[in-house]
């Protein structure tokens, strides 16, 4: 099983019934798997803020939800995460590509690589980094932690996890 298949399997274990998504090239294959799963209502959106708020609205039906977006998109929706989710203390679980790391040699990702974690720390949004296949089984525990923290919780997927070691 590859990382995408394992993550999808864990989301099924959690009981996710709605996934709101906007892809970058790293999370795209996961979104493809979600789209093909009849047990999950897939909501493709036009902007990442829609994804986190659609997932937030679904919370109030008692159904499990997730937003799947890219790192650049996460930066665009911090205002909504702060003024909706922090303001009202509503959890939202976000799966996000972790761009701009030492092994991601895309020049347009370099700011994301340096400023995303300090930004999350400034907002006090908790996060967890998944860096290897054997860590994917922690997703149900991270999901529960997101509910307990009552705020946005970011699960980062690294390049090493999704695409293997860059030096191999």
């Amino acid at each position: 099983m590859d990382a995408y298949e394992l993550i999808h399997r864990e989301l099924t274990r959690v009981g996710v019934k709605l996934a709101a998504t906007l892809p970058d090239d790293w999370v795209g294959p996961l979104i493809g798997r979600i789209d093909a799963d009849p047990a999950i209502r897939h909501v493709p959106v036009a902007r990442e803020s829609e994804a986190v708020v659609v997932a937030t609205g679904a919370f109030f039906t008692g159904k499990k939800s997730v937003a799947v977006i890219g790192n650049t998109g996460l930066l665009t929706c911090t205002g909504e995460l702060a003024t909706l989710n922090l303001r009202h203390q509503i959890p939202v679980f976000c799966i996000v590509s972790m761009r701009g790391t030492y092994d991601d040699h895309r020049i347009w990702q370099e700011v994301q690589g340096r400023r995303t974690i300090p930004l999350l720390q400034a907002y006090d949004f908790p996060y967890q980094v998944l860096d290897s296949l054997d860590e994917i089984g922690c997703i149900p525990a991270v999901y529960e932690a997101s509910r307990l923290q009552k705020r946005p919780y970011i699960l980062f997927l690294t390049r090493r996890l999704l695409k293997g070691k860059a030096w191999q």
Binding site: V53, V54, A58, G62, A82, L84
Partner: protein, 200 residues
Amino acid sequence: MKTRDAMRVIAAHRGDAVAVCALGMASNEWWQATKSEETFYVHGAMGFAASFALGFALMAPEVPVLLLNADGSLCMNLGCLLTEAQQAPQNLKHFVVDNRVYQTVSAVPMVNRGLTDYAGIARSAGIPRTLTLDNVPDLEKAMPEIMAAPGPYFTVLRVEAEPSYLEVPPNDYEGAEIKYRFGRAMEKRLGVKIFGPSGY
């Protein structure tokens, strides 16, 4: 038509619908008209009450859902119309209070004031049923059809800009209290558990 009158008419016809209010004057008027706790009053995220209502409506398809949006909010998230059209929730009725100003900041005129046909944008986005109304008798007449027809149904309410929004205060619940009041109401209404045994 005044916002207050429009909210009263919708409230009278709402039946057992759940509501989501964008921040602003219409939200305050809805609270005054209904005192409803089966309503989520969004404090922030201007533009995204539409996305909140969509996520709720999709996962509770048996519940009629009213979205009380505003023109300023809609303009901050016009993309919501594409998503709403694509998902086509039959239980969602989307109202836009169109007063052409940012009422809560001293009625500062909005971008493109009065020139934009929001119902036309919604139709072009793929929402099949749209309506624009500017008076109370027409709204009274239209409400039974709006409530009975399958959604998404998009209705623009052209209302007068008013000098002060503070004449009608918002509800006095804090952000987390709104979450718990609405969440507990939905637990009873839907027969589900939203919060666990430890309250989160």
